[in-house]
Amino acid sequence: MQLVMLLLGLSVATALWTGVQAINAEARASYREASFAVASGAVAQLVPRSGTSIPVTTYVALRRAGWLVSPILDGEVMFDDVRINIVGVDPLTSPREALAVELGTDDTLERFLSREGLMFTSADMKDRLAGATTLPVAVDDGLSDGVGIVDIGQAQALLGAGDTVSRLIVAPEQPDGRPPLEVVAPDLVFLARSDATDLARLTDSFHLNLTAFGLLAFVVGLFIVYSTIGLAFEQRRPVFRTLRALGIPARVLTGLLLLELVFLALVAGLAGVVMGYGVAVLLLPDVSATLRGLYGADVPGTLELRASWWLAGLGIAVLGTLVSSAESLWRVSRLPMLAPAQPRAWARASETTLAAQALLALLLFAGGLAALVLGSGVVAGFTVLASLLLGAALLLPGLLAGVVGLGQGLAHGPLAQWFWADTRQQIPGLSLSLMALLLALSANIGVGTMVGSFRLTFVAFLDQRLAAELYVEARSPEESASLQAWLAPRVDAVLPIAVLETELAGQAGQLLGVSDHATYRANWPLLQSAPDAWDRLAQGEAILINEQLSRRENLGVGDRLELPGQWTAPIAGVFADYGNPAAQAMVGLATLQARYPEASQTRFGVRTEQAGVEALQTELRDRFDLPDGVIVDQASLKRMGLEVFERTFAVTAALNVLTLGVAGLALFASLMTLSGIRLPQLAPVWAMGITRRRLAMLEMVRTLALAALTFAAAVPVGLALAWVLLDVVNVEAFGWKLPLHLFPLDWVQLGGLALAAALLAAAIPVRRLSRLAPSDLLRVFANER
């Protein structure tokens, strides 16, 4: 049984760890292979100081001056009903790492550069474009959906861009002695690689989150391994002592045991990696949906078998086993040969150990507090989390011993007193699995509270932010104008939205131009604002910025933000913008149109009677022959937003359940092994007239009581965890802060689940006890033991 538990514990721990690592590796690999839009963020670029285009003459001037730059032109094109983001590149001047497609084979390059042209897309996009364009289409599996790569000349024709380009890619190696940018092209801004839209950086926090969960599950699994090895070695002590007495040196004995453990670790590790693959296959579709929803990153929902994580999985299994068995092996190497050959009172409570653990816990809390006050970044946030969880786990046995001691003091009957005293004695033997249960429950409460709080805030945010009944994104500014003109007399209000993709405080971001309307004043979710914020916005005297930008740049009401075109605007308010990783600023519509005529003016919102929304949508589509996706109603947008949200946390929920399962397994492993060595404690009570059935019932009550106490301890730890996640980690990772909401009903549900897990874990050992043959109990009293 111990062997089974050891193999199971180790393989499950390895499975969860390698599963998460496999997902991370797959996602990161796909970022590297991702579309040009992504790749272009991974190299340095030159972008216009204001506006959205660079004259070709500027490009030529730079090349002549010795600058190794390559032009990019991008923009949206509709082929019939299919909207595609066209990216024009110049393969002859582009740095290799910035090219997302392989052009070096056969006559591909020739076809790509030819007048007829060649467009690279994903396989899915190629299918959708069938019959919609005469442009030849080729498939490149590395491209994300919605992107088409063409030659720059082809892109200029498709986008009607004339002699302009969007930006210039700067090759990593540049010749010495070239004139500075300010001299050759003063209208351009240099964006270093880190300032560009770096998808890997954006998604790092998400992967760190997954890794933290994987690590937590692995640690919980290692608790099983530690506990099983410890108890197995304890039971084998008489054999070890005999072998030592027969002349086997301690070093040889320890070496043989080490070999045995490494062999078992490799077997379990192999099984774990296979199971980990299963975990990854199950979770990857949700992870890719999450990454697409949150960051727009395209990760295929399928998994490749990579040799690296096979090796890493086996390595972590062996390493975990060695760490878990180090103490037991050390004890074997120092085994006294003359001590009585009986199992040591393994479960004896040690006040010194409890005190040492409590001290270590306090030190960890202090360390966490220091990281909270002095540290910064996601890593500091996770340091606080780790200190909190580990400290709470270490404090648990002492806390349980205290509560159980109190129970003993208050108990009256002899059986009740024995029950509490015996429970106290079981705590050291069960402490590791109870710590594992505490970690799993705290993580559940913490993450559940975070997700629940996020959900409540997000739903309220969507209700406020999506106040218009319809949202329209026309295919061109002209279409937008005619749609608005037709709608104006038929609806309550048309709210045009102009958008400029630009750089805000060195980050990729958006400038949003909105009209002065009561809808915004009444609904827009402002976190802080000056009293006259909306008036100043409408008059073009001030701007509003999103929370992400505010936190990253430490900007607030009264500060000023430098905008393209040498406009430094005062900030009149900060608005919530959950789910958007990029910086955003809001200005009055007229101001944006006046300062940035190149801004996209194809979007607008429509305020109308809710009852007439559907009819209006149908009439608009019919009258203007609009394809799907041009008009979206408020309910659909909210539904889409919530879908993204739910999928975002589906992986977290799955890992939560798995971690709780592993903790249940740890409890089962401990109870099974303890049940084997507890007979000397139970047999005298049985001999004095307590039936096996009653003893079994008391064992069950004991397990449930310990699980219930652990759950009670997990609630405050989980809430502290939620606070750290909401107030520290989220702010660092995503740039937004959320209010903490409490969900007591969820706790009741989780408490029930914890008790059910304890009931299941105790069921087999308890059943075994209730059916134990008297001869097994009598062995305890046998004189010839």
């Binding site: 007193q417 024995w418 005298p684 307590i690 109990l777």
Partner: protein, 218 residues
């Protein structure tokens, strides 16, 4: 007659088939008297003790204890018998490790609902345990642990004390002291004693002796 065994038989299952360890044992014990059960290792003397205590069940025969046939009792009935009628003293002491000496002493008496604080104090004094009441079993010597086990049994005022090699784990001098104390206290409590031992020297100190050989009374 407090205890009477008639034609008691018992077998144990082994890998080579059933092994019969008792072949129709007969013995009697009067109230207030003591009897030694002697024999070599494997003669079946501990098995007799276990059957009388209801710790195991006989295959055949009758075990009459305080007016009840132990063989016919179910698990709960035997547990009640152990709580109320008999007291057990083992060679391995078998104290409850999680309880201190005072709680160990009172444990069975309280289970049997016969806790008498004055009697327990007297027992602790006579057994030399008064200064050890707050200690735990692991903090006591073998002799001290066996004295606690005897005190625990007698504190419940059982009608029959069943002792299985009670001095087997003690040196001769300590063993003699402990046995003398036990015999004296058993008599004072008005209980009967059935004691398993392979020492004729110890057996001679009791009122009677039954010798077992290969599962038969000889």
């Amino acid at each position: 007659m407090l205890l009477a065994l008639q034609k008691v038989e018992k077998s144990f299952a082994t890998s080579e088939g059933p092994l019969k360890v008792l072949h129709g044992i007969d013995l009697q014990l009067d109230a207030g008297s003591s009897l030694a059960l002697t024999g070599e290792s494997g003669s079946g003397k501990s098995t007799v003790l276990h059957l009388v205590a209801g710790l195991d069940s006989a295959d055949a025969g009758r075990i009459e204890l305080a007016g009840r046939n132990v063989v016919e009792l179910d698990d709960a009935g035997r547990a009640a018998l152990r709580r109320g009628v008999v007291g057990l003293v083992f060679q391995q002491f078998n104290l409850i490790p999680s309880l201190d000496v005072a709680s160990n002493l009172s444990f069975q008496a309280r289970l049997a609902d016969r806790h008498d604080k004055a009697w327990q104090t007297e027992l602790a004094r006579r057994l030399g345990l008064s200064g050890l009441l707050t200690r735990y079993p692991e903090q006591l010597s073998g002799g001290q642990q066996q004295r606690v086990a005897i005190g625990r049994t007698l504190a419940a005022r059982p009608q029959l004390v069943l002792a299985d090699e009670p001095t087997g784990n003690l040196d001769e001098e300590t063993g003699d002291d402990v046995l003398a104390l036990m015999l004296s206290l058993v008599r004072e409590a008005g209980a009967s004693l059935l004691m398993v031992t392979h020492s004729m020297r110890l057996a001679d100190q009791l009122d009677g002796r039954v010798h077992l050989k290969s599962g038969r009374v000889v």
